[in-house]
């Protein structure tokens, strides 16, 4: 079997499990909606503050949901020694990592796409509205939305790269629920900052140049984290 085939089988396995249990979907959607709602309440009735905080709130909700998603994906592998059996097969460790990454990234990206219009509506942010008065430019709404969706995809990829790696590292530990965010959030901060800035540039002013600059930084972090995690993951799961 080639490695790509193994990646797809493992991703399919994780997504099939999630489709049946809906454990991640229910927890992350509920948690994200509550987060967006509470932050909207905290911002009060200041429309400017609401609009400027919309993308920050979106990424806070996605970040917390991403931790739940990654931790849950390893949990299913630990039941009945399934992970032990999987790792005894001649499956490249990188394929195990990439398969789980693919499933997690898919779920997080889908959640981001669902939350984006929700955040826009709740916070009064004009997503795809192009340039705001006094902003950096007048840009086609479709292009702004496309780049915004790309930013969500790139941001959730960077987040999932780290979350799946550290969730695997802590999967067998008793204190995994508390250790996972403590370990991963310091590492994932550059991803979140770049994603928030790129999103804000698009929603706030439709400033594509500024968004591209942050997006390039985001993709750069994605590449660095992808290489580091792929190289190190075998030490996470090997005996």
């Amino acid at each position: 079997m080639n490695d790509l085939h193994a990646v797809l089988w493992i991703a399919r396995k994780d997504l099939l499990q999630e489709a049946r249990s809906k454990a991640v979907t229910v927890a992350t959607v509920f948690f994200s909606a509550v987060t967006l709602g509470v932050l909207a309440f905290a911002f009060g009735e200041n429309p400017l503050l609401m609009r400027e905080g919309a993308m920050g709130a979106l990424w806070v909700a996605l970040a917390f949901a991403g931790v739940i998603s990654a931790a849950q994906s390893w949990q299913a592998d630990l039941e009945d020694g399934a992970l032990e059996a999987l790792l005894a097969w001649p499956v490249p460790r990188a394929a195990v990592y990439l398969g789980k990454l693919l499933a997690n990234w898919g779920l997080m990206t889908a959640l981001g796409f669902v939350l984006l219009p929700l955040a826009g509506g709740l916070y009064g942010a004009d997503i795809g509205g192009g340039g705001a008065p006094g902003g950096g430019g007048e840009t086609a709404p479709a292009l702004v939305v496309a780049v915004l969706l790309g930013t969500i995809a790139a941001g959730t990829l960077g987040f999932a790269l780290i979350a799946v790696f550290y969730a695997g590292l802590t999967a067998n530990l008793r204190a995994r629920e508390s250790l996972l965010p403590v370990l991963m959030f310091p590492v994932v901060v550059p991803i979140l900052l770049a994603a928030v800035r790129a999103s804000n540039a698009l929603v706030g002013s439709g400033d594509l140049d500024l968004a591209w600059a942050w997006l390039r930084l985001l993709v750069g972090f994605d590449l660095v984290y992808a290489v580091v995690c792929l190289v190190l993951f075998r030490f996470v799961v090997e005996a």
Partner: protein, 250 residues
């Protein structure tokens, strides 16, 4: 310490199916395996017997590359379990004590996943035959989380039978099974022997081990000793970290 004899029943120069030299492993306290040596010839069935915590599962996990030896070497068909772990995994099929199946997948889906990830290609008919053989044909599309522990063990046996691996490592294969299921295990082991596979079986069922295995090796106090050679005299080369009793002097 070198073994006191060499395995026979295989071509000269061919590596033993399993070769342990001064193998040490522990979990922080006294070593569970305290420098054991063992050669198992290709095509033999060897039962590992011993009390709880003696190190039977530890030994099988070392051979399956799921643990690293603290000291010493373990090789499977000449491949070192640490330095050539991937090659070892292609040679070895395991039957974990808890079955190792995904509860949210059906029995059929679990087998298809196992076959695909072991590189066996996709053969739906082979999967169906394996499920029928272990008596799970009617439950093939039920989720494994609804299976009893005996059904999970049968599913693990079906997955094992689909693995085209020359060495089988079975951890408590009789546990949770009814009499019919235990006979199924015996039949699978016999078929594996006929196919020239090497089988290591960790079990508490000594009478059954004596009936099915070519040799029974006891693990106790971190050491090995050959307890009996029920059927053939060439299955195990030696265990030298403790005296070999009776005729077990090979």
């Amino acid at each position: 310490m070198a073994p006191t004899g060499a395995p026979t029943g295989e071509p000269a120069g061919a590596p033993p199916a399993v070769e342990l030299r001064g193998l040490v492993h522990g979990y922080g306290g006294p070593p569970v395996l305290a420098g054991i040596d063992l050669d198992v010839a290709v095509g033999r069935v060897v039962a590992l017997h011993g009390p709880n915590g003696a190190g039977k599962t530890t030994l099988l996990r070392l051979l399956a590359t799921r643990l690293r030896p603290v000291r010493g070497h373990a090789r499977v068909l000449g491949h070192d379990v640490v330095r050539q772990a991937h090659e070892v995994r292609t040679c070895v099929a395991t039957l974990p004590v808890y079955g190792g199946a995904y509860g949210a997948l059906s029995g059929r889906e679990n087998l298809r996943l196992g076959v695909a990830l072991r590189g066996g290609g996709e053969d739906p008919e082979a999967v169906d035959r394996a499920l029928e053989r272990v008596g799970l044909g009617a439950a093939a599309d039920h989720l494994v989380r609804a299976y009893s522990s005996g059904m999970r063990k049968r599913l693990a046996l079906a997955r094992l039978s689909l693995a085209d691996a020359p060495v089988w490592l079975l951890d408590e294969p009789y546990a949770a099974l009814d009499e019919q299921g235990q006979e199924l295990v015996d039949a699978l082991i016999a078929a594996a022997r006929d196919d020239g596979r090497t089988v290591l079986v960790a079990s508490h069922d000594l009478p059954r081990s004596l009936a099915t295995a070519d040799a029974v090796v006891e693990i106790a106090g971190g050491h090995l000793r050959v307890m009996a050679r029920p059927t053939r005299a060439t299955a195990v080369a030696a265990t030298t970290s403790a005296p070999v009793d009776g005729e077990g002097d090979a």
